[in-house]
Symmetry: C4
Subunit: 225 residues, 4 copies
Amino acid sequence: MSDAPEQQTVDDAAARRELYALPLDRFSAFSDGVFAIAITLLVLQIGVPREGVRVLPALRGQWPELLGYYISFAFIGSLWIMHSGVTRFMKRGDGVAYALNLLLLLFVGLLPFTTDLMVTHLSGADARIAVLIYGVDLLLASCVLSLLILYLAQEPGLLVDDIAEGTLRRVNRQRWTAIGVNVLAIAVALVAPQVAAGLYLVETTLLLIIPLLGLRRHRRRRRAG
Amino acid sequence: MSDAPEQQTVDDAAARRELYALPLDRFSAFSDGVFAIAITLLVLQIGVPREGVRVLPALRGQWPELLGYYISFAFIGSLWIMHSGVTRFMKRGDGVAYALNLLLLLFVGLLPFTTDLMVTHLSGADARIAVLIYGVDLLLASCVLSLLILYLAQEPGLLVDDIAEGTLRRVNRQRWTAIGVNVLAIAVALVAPQVAAGLYLVETTLLLIIPLLGLRRHRRRRRAG
Amino acid sequence: MSDAPEQQTVDDAAARRELYALPLDRFSAFSDGVFAIAITLLVLQIGVPREGVRVLPALRGQWPELLGYYISFAFIGSLWIMHSGVTRFMKRGDGVAYALNLLLLLFVGLLPFTTDLMVTHLSGADARIAVLIYGVDLLLASCVLSLLILYLAQEPGLLVDDIAEGTLRRVNRQRWTAIGVNVLAIAVALVAPQVAAGLYLVETTLLLIIPLLGLRRHRRRRRAG
Amino acid sequence: MSDAPEQQTVDDAAARRELYALPLDRFSAFSDGVFAIAITLLVLQIGVPREGVRVLPALRGQWPELLGYYISFAFIGSLWIMHSGVTRFMKRGDGVAYALNLLLLLFVGLLPFTTDLMVTHLSGADARIAVLIYGVDLLLASCVLSLLILYLAQEPGLLVDDIAEGTLRRVNRQRWTAIGVNVLAIAVALVAPQVAAGLYLVETTLLLIIPLLGLRRHRRRRRAG
């Protein structure tokens, strides 16, 4: 109160800036929480065949729900892997990084809904729009993650060292492939939505299989060694 | 048992006090958990249009649910950013800080319910009371967070250093703006509830955009540099 | 494979023991997760009055649900505060501590169900049995926590230092009060279930208010200082 | 852009490898999250008897739901104990470990659904197939965890020291018992599904009791000492 008004404004700005030098551990913990909950809520969308209904035919009719669980689990999982790969290079967060992250989590948190929407309408008259909405949600999550990486690459003060910056830039260039496939899937969805869903199936299976190829290569190497 | 009764009372009080020198990491982890779950449960309130129903008209009719997801996500997110900004200055917790935090989380944990209440009745006869209840929940969460900050600012033993105290006091002064907007929204809700919802939309969008303005300033700075 | 069978058994036992020298950070993180989710799931049991139904009369009729949210939130919260106070003295976990903790979380994880059961039947013909089941769940959680504290107090190898052992013993003696109130509430539930619910309301409010009294004392101290 | 194409490919591969040297803390935190949420979601499958319905007869009729809560809680809990025992020996993760972990969590995350499926149909015409699906989900989770342990045992670069490798190999040999019981339960399910459910009840109770036997031994030792 006794400060001169200008001084106070400067101090307020400094306090605000200092407050926004946000801790990385909570940035990671909160993100892990939202990713983990979104990925686990997916299971609630698979309806359990009621008592008295034959189980196998019912589950066979529910293939879109099982497909939706699988592809959204894999997409959220791979976004999370990328996210945890990125925070490894971070030292701390700031207001922009926190806001971009919140925006990313907003689209990730929507995925249980857009997945449910897609699988409910996948074989119906509105398959096109349902798959499109799912694809756009996925694309937005993917793009905001890229934007976050790009921002971090330009803010050396948030990164652990100089190598990190170059690494983040190269990683982001590789992310264009994933984003390209997402855009392609959206375009396909407008013509043949079931084909787009198939494309997601292939993409997510590759996302899981490509790292596991390392397992095979690793075995061969050991046998040779 | 062999202690003199008075001695035991003293020891018990000491043990209780020692027990309530509570660890900061669990204070943060539990809070992150509740914030993350409350923010992710919001998606469950968006109903998925049933099979056979036209998707776009259905979603258009569900605009209050989508709006509710957006504004509550942003409010919970910004409360969490403020919360994690505050714990950065903490060294440890005590019984009061834990109790205030629990009270804060009680109101945050109610938000999925009060949001659902608001969006269900936003265009009905009871819009006034529904928006009012939402506003009061939000206001209480906001006030308890301010009370927590105020308490911490007066307890140097819980903070990392002396600078932290002054910073927390300044931050709390700035929080009056946010609380003022919340009170205003409640007053508006009594007259025109839809306008109050609009006010929340503007406020949360500003909450997300203001930090992102840093992104633009940052780009201009780089181009000039 | 080349080991003598006896040697292998010894090694297996050693490996098993070594594997069960379990890390404290995951013990805490998993417990925080279950506590945080159980406390946040409570909100799902509060039904939102449907569109067209008058909000205030509906909520007034739902007072048991709101009461249930409040008391279970406070009970889970205070169990968590006690739990995090205890882990502060731990250095690591072992198989017994992990198994007791899992049993504790089993009863905590049931609370959203037993709370829902109690509030659904609080004013019905089966109020007695519903409040009784809730009380027994709460009592079991409380007793397993005490058992965990007792076990830790007897295992210096799991604690940070010798002082911790004495502190844990004293804390456990004080816990008999809480357990006594729980037993009393169960006895009351058999005669007058609504009174037992009232007793829970008083107990949880005291649980929240007692630490906050520190806030008042603290203010007076500052004014005097 | 100015790099020679080959050099860039090498750099890209290096960046990718470096990015996949993933942090252990987030590996653990995300896994803790999914385990904790899956275990807590189990409670949602226990239906609350409606107002006016007699509570005790209703709960007696719901014994499969209560059984399902218990056995899946114990199975998820024991998978988590094993998982946290394993990460204790890890220094960091890589793409393969992350992908295997994601696959493990995919099957863990399905358990609330397969549990619900089993308990809904346990006394119906399709008990066989329902218990079979539950058993296969459990077996897959168990096998992927073993595969993860096996992979880690072969990658000294991910482990804290050389002792860890031998320990992990021995632990994995002991896991064959658990996997054997799971295979047996599946075989039994094809003939007598209720017996298989009983087998799960015995197995999970042993999983909880075996560590607690340490408690009894420990008491006897203290009395003798």
